[in-house]
Each structure stands twice: as C-alpha cells, then as structure tokens.
C-alpha cells in the first residue's frame, strides 16, 4: 500500500513535469478553452436565449464541465504513447506497484484539471461571470468538478488503450465524448432541442453535472442534481476503472 502511494506520486510527478514540455498539449488545456469561451459568449451568445441568466453565467459552468471531462485526454494519449514506446515494459520490469502507472496518470489529470478550471473561472470573471453562491457552495462545486474530471480520466484511460496509437486515442475520444458534451445542457437549454435529442440530453450525465454546477454556483433550482452528479461520477469510476485495468493488462502483456 505504501508502495502504491509513493509510486503513484512518482508517476504523477513525471506526468506533470512532462506537460509544459509538450506545447501542443499545453495550449490545448490553457489557450483553447479561453478561445471557446470567447467564441460562445460573443459569437453564439447573442443568439441563444437562456431565460433567467446572462449567457456568460449560463455558459461558464457548462464549459468548465466540458473541459474537465476532456482533461482525461492527457491520460489517454500518455498511455497510448507509453504502450507504443516500450516504456511500459521497463516499468513493468521494475519492483514498483503496477497499479501506480494508471493511478499516477489519472492523479496528474486532477492537477491539470485544476489548472484549466482556474483559467476558465478567471476568464469568466473578466468577461462578466459572477457567482451567486456562498463560499461553501463554490467549494463544493470545485470538488464536484474535480471528482467528475477524475471519473472521466478513467473513461479516457480505457479508450486510450482500446486503440494502438496516441493519434487514434485522440480521435476516438473526440468522436465519443464531444457529441456527448454538446447534447447536454452545457451550451443551450435542453428545452430548445428537438424532442428525441431533449430526451437524451436530459438523461445525459453531462446535463446532470452541469445542472448541479448551476445549482451550486448560480443558485439555480437543484432538484436531485447535486447528489445525482456525485453518484454518476462514482458509477463512472466503478465501471471504467476496472475496464481500464483489464485493457491495460492485456495491452502490456501483448
């Protein structure tokens, strides 16, 4: 157990040291979200009606959830890269905890997710976003975001190992997760969608989490969304962590 903890920290440290040295990935988690916020607020914002909220207030929780979900990308690409390079063979020949390879990956995503969350909140505050919440609610929102992001790291870890190259991991992630984030309440109210889409959007965990964030940060009516969002995140971890471990074993043993 102690071995797992120290080795996980060593692996997480490795991933974080690598990150700024990979400029493409780094801008994907810093500059790109800012561009998206500006695009949505100033280009689409005027055309989207969000009764009861300014569009910027409506958008920020949604777009943070989307970004956080994609934080797992670094895990997916990193794992695909390691498996390709034979580096995984070296790790597996060391007297280290084998679980630490995956745990360290997903743990370092929490750090990068925190970074992109902060960047998005600051960008939002600059262009007019304001919290309608007390400090406790704001912090609970932060915890929910990071927990949900952690859950999606396992989804991406699994997807990353279904394919054999970092590039394929990238496009698979985009094809599966991108639509999921758009057919949700993240960018537009679900009531504005055709009924089939609306049905899907309303059961989509993204909608649950985004609505929970709006309840926590904007004082929107919460319903069951907040605990629902935590339950969804936990379920995702329970399903995808074992799947990821199983794929990882198969891929590493080849």
């Amino acid at each position: 157990m102690r071995r797992l903890a120290t080795d996980t920290m060593i692996m997480a440290e490795r991933n974080l040291v690598r990150l700024p040295r990979n400029p493409d990935l780094f801008t994907a988690f810093t500059i790109q979200p800012i561009m998206f916020v500006l695009l949505f607020v100033y280009v689409f914002g005027g055309a989207i009606s969000t009764p009861g909220y300014d569009y910027v207030d409506f958008l920020i929780p949604g777009i943070i959830v989307q970004n956080i979900a994609f934080g797992g990308f670094i895990t997916a690409m990193g794992l695909a890269e390691d498996l390709n390079r034979g580096l995984i063979d070296r790790f597996r020949s060391l007297p280290m905890s084998r679980a630490a390879l995956l745990a360290g990956r997903t743990l370092s995503d929490v750090a990068t997710n925190t970074l992109s969350m902060v960047i998005l909140i600051v960008t939002g505050l600059i262009i007019g976003f304001s919290f309608n919440a007390n400090i406790g609610e704001i912090l609970l929102g932060v915890v929910l975001l990071l927990f949900f992001g952690y859950a999606f790291s396992w989804v991406f870890a699994f997807l990353g190992m279904l394919v054999t190259t970092p590039e394929a991991a990238n496009s698979l992630g985009f094809m599966l997760v991108f639509p999921l984030t758009f057919i949700s309440s993240a960018f537009v109210p679900t009531e504005s969608m055709p009924s089939a889409l609306q049905w899907f959007a309303d059961v989509n965990p993204f909608t649950v989490v985004v609505d929970a964030m709006r309840a926590l940060w904007l004082g929107a009516p919460a319903g069951n969304d907040v605990w629902g969002a935590f339950v969804w995140s936990a379920v995702i971890i329970v399903v995808f962590a074992p799947l990821a471990v199983w794929r990882y074993r198969a891929a590493a043993e080849r």
């Binding site: 490795r14 040291v17 690598r18 034979g86 063979d89 070296r90 020949s93 060391l94 007297p95 043993e253």
Partner: protein, 336 residues
C-alpha cells in the same frame, strides 16, 4: 531496505544465475519459444544468438516477468519468475529491444525516476544518476530532454537506466542494434566492466561478432529452439578448426605444396586463387611446420596465414542459412 546496495544472493555461488528449462510460449499457431533450455553461470555472459523472429525477445520477456510462459521452469537468481515475479523484479535490470526511456524527461530525470521506482531515496537516486551519466559519457546531455538525443545516446541512457539499482542479473535485448561502430565498442567495454564486477548478463544479438566478443557461452536459437550451445571456440571448432592459407610464389608448384602439407591436414587441401587452403587440426606451430615442410619441398611461398572461422561460418553450418546481413560494413570497422 536500501535498493542501491547490491543484493546478496541466497544461492551458493556455483548455482546458475539463470536457469531455463522446457520454456514454451505460443501465439496462436506460432510457437515463438518451443522448448528452450539453458543455464547462465554467475558472473558470466550468455549470448542468445539468432535471426529475426527466432524467439529471443519472447524469451527475455518471460525471464523479466513481462509475460507468463505457457510451460517451463524459469529461475533467476534462485527466484521463480512466475511464482515470485514481484520479488524477482528487485534482482534484475532490463534494457528492452526498443529504447525505453521517457522522451520528454531529461536523461537525469529519467534515471532518478527509475531509481526511485526501485525504492531508492530521491537523494540516492540523484547521486547514482550523476555517476551513471558520467560513466556513459552523457554528463553534458544530462539536462536535455531525451527527444533531442541521438539514437546512440538514447541507447546508452537506456542501458544506464537498467543499471540504476545495480541489479545482479542484467537482461539486454539487442543492446547495440542501431549504434555506430564507435558507440558499440564503448558499450561493449561497459558491459565487460560490469561482468568483471560480478554481474551476470544475458544478452540477445543478431550480430555474430558481438556474441563472439562478449559472450562466455552462446546459445544459438532459431524458430524457438536452441540449435547449438557452447563457448564461441567450441562452436567454431564444430565448423572445422583453423584454416591455413598459403599463397604460392608460383602457382605451378601447387601439387608439390599439397603433397608436402598433406600430413598436417584434416581433409584434402584445395587450390583457390593461386593459394593452397587446408584445415589443420592444431593451431600451435602450424605455420612453422608448414613453412619447414614447404621449404624442404622447395616450394616458394609468398604469404602464409591462419584464419579462424567466424561466427558467420558457424551460423551457416548450423542452420543452413546465413545470419541476417548487415546493411553496411559496420562489422569490419567494429572488430578492427
């Protein structure tokens, strides 16, 4: 436990460091490893020699706990590679066939990371990294990301990383593939130093000169089976001893030369390109005796020399096909 210390083995020193019995691994219809047996004595080098697809990497992967065998018994440093895999990992170092270091980290960061994963403290790992990078002439590049390294530098770093915890048993899968002649020589020297210090090494190679130079014993493997075992000299002896080549001053004297040398010879001398060529049973004194005999027979000699069979001859004789051709003339330079 301080992993930086060389671990003392529970085994008496005359027990083999590696023992492989009846090893089998199949992938569908492919019998990648098909009943392999060998032993490696402590403090020696075994060269696992074979062409592409022979089963070298698969054997190494099973010995280093990366893959489970379908059948067979594997003992490394007295530890069962299947039942006690986790324990075994503390006793081995591996440099795989593909350089396996983190491209985005610097050379130093890589070694420190691997050292810590062996259980060393950050401080010990740093000190060890500094020493290893120096030993492998990478000090100047220590703080550069590996993606800017040349292939040879990467290979050296790879080997350095496998030594970080001073493992008593080292596995090197084609350690010099892709290196220039100079880097190969350097790496050979490092390996020789390690062995002089008591490390046991199993190295795979397709290069006959490499096995010849480094290995105490060679196991030739082809299609998943060991087809020959022995010291380099024993294997060469199987091909037919030393070859004496006598260049004649006058080609017309060839029959006289053959008559004079006949008694020394293990088969019938042949004449090629104005030279008489024959296998002799003993190396010692062969040239002196030949010169004396030719002198007595009045045959003029331009040049005379003894040629040892190369591992290429061995391979051809054992498998009926030549080992993989080098794409360039590295062999010449590297052994010069």
């Amino acid at each position: 436990m301080d992993s930086a210390q060389r671990r003392t083995s529970p085994q008496p020193t005359d027990a083999p460091a590696i023992s492989v019995r009846g090893l089998v691994k199949t992938y569908g219809d492919v019998r990648a490893v098909d009943g392999v047996d060998f032993e490696v004595r402590r403090g020696t080098v075994l060269g696992l020699l074979g062409p592409n697809g022979a089963g070298k990497t698969t054997t190494v992967r099973m010995l280093t706990t990366l893959q489970k065998p379908d059948a067979g018994e594997l003992l490394v440093d007295g530890i069962d590679a299947v039942a006690d895999a986790a324990k075994l990992r503390e006793h081995i170092g591996l440099a795989g066939q593909n350089a396996s270091v983190d491209e985005s980290l610097t050379g130093s960061e890589n070694i420190v990371m691997f050292g810590r994963l062996y259980g060393m403290s950050r401080k010990n790992a740093k000190a060890r990294a500094t020493r290893l990078l120096e030993q492998f002439q990478l000090s100047d590049a220590a703080d550069r990301p590996v993606k800017n390294y040349s292939g040879g530098m990467r290979r050296r770093l790879d080997l350095a990383a496998s030594l970080v915890a001073e493992p008593p048993v080292l596995f090197l899968d084609e350690p010099t593939t892709g290196l220039d002649p100079r880097s190969r020589l350097d790496l050979w020297e490092v390996i020789e130093q390690l062995v002089a210090g008591g490390t046991t090494v199993l190295l795979t190679t397709q290069y006959l000169d490499e096995a010849d130079r480094l290995a105490d014993d060679i196991a030739v493997i082809d299609h998943g089976k060991v087809i020959a075992k022995g010291t380099p000299d024993e294997l060469k002896a199987r091909v037919g001893g030393e070859r004496l080549v006598v260049a004649l001053a006058d080609e017309a004297s060839a029959p006289d030369a053959i008559a004079a040398l006949g008694p020394m010879c293990t088969d019938t001398p042949v004449v090629e390109d104005g030279a008489v060529k024959l296998y002799v049973s003993r190396r010692e004194g062969a040239i002196v005796e030949a010169v004396r005999r030719l002198d007595e027979a009045g045959v003029g000699v331009e040049d005379i020399g003894l040629h040892r069979p190369t591992m290429d001859d061995v391979f051809l004789a054992l498998t009926g096909h030549a080992a993989e051709e080098r794409t360039d003339d590295e062999t010449e330079e590297a052994t010069a």
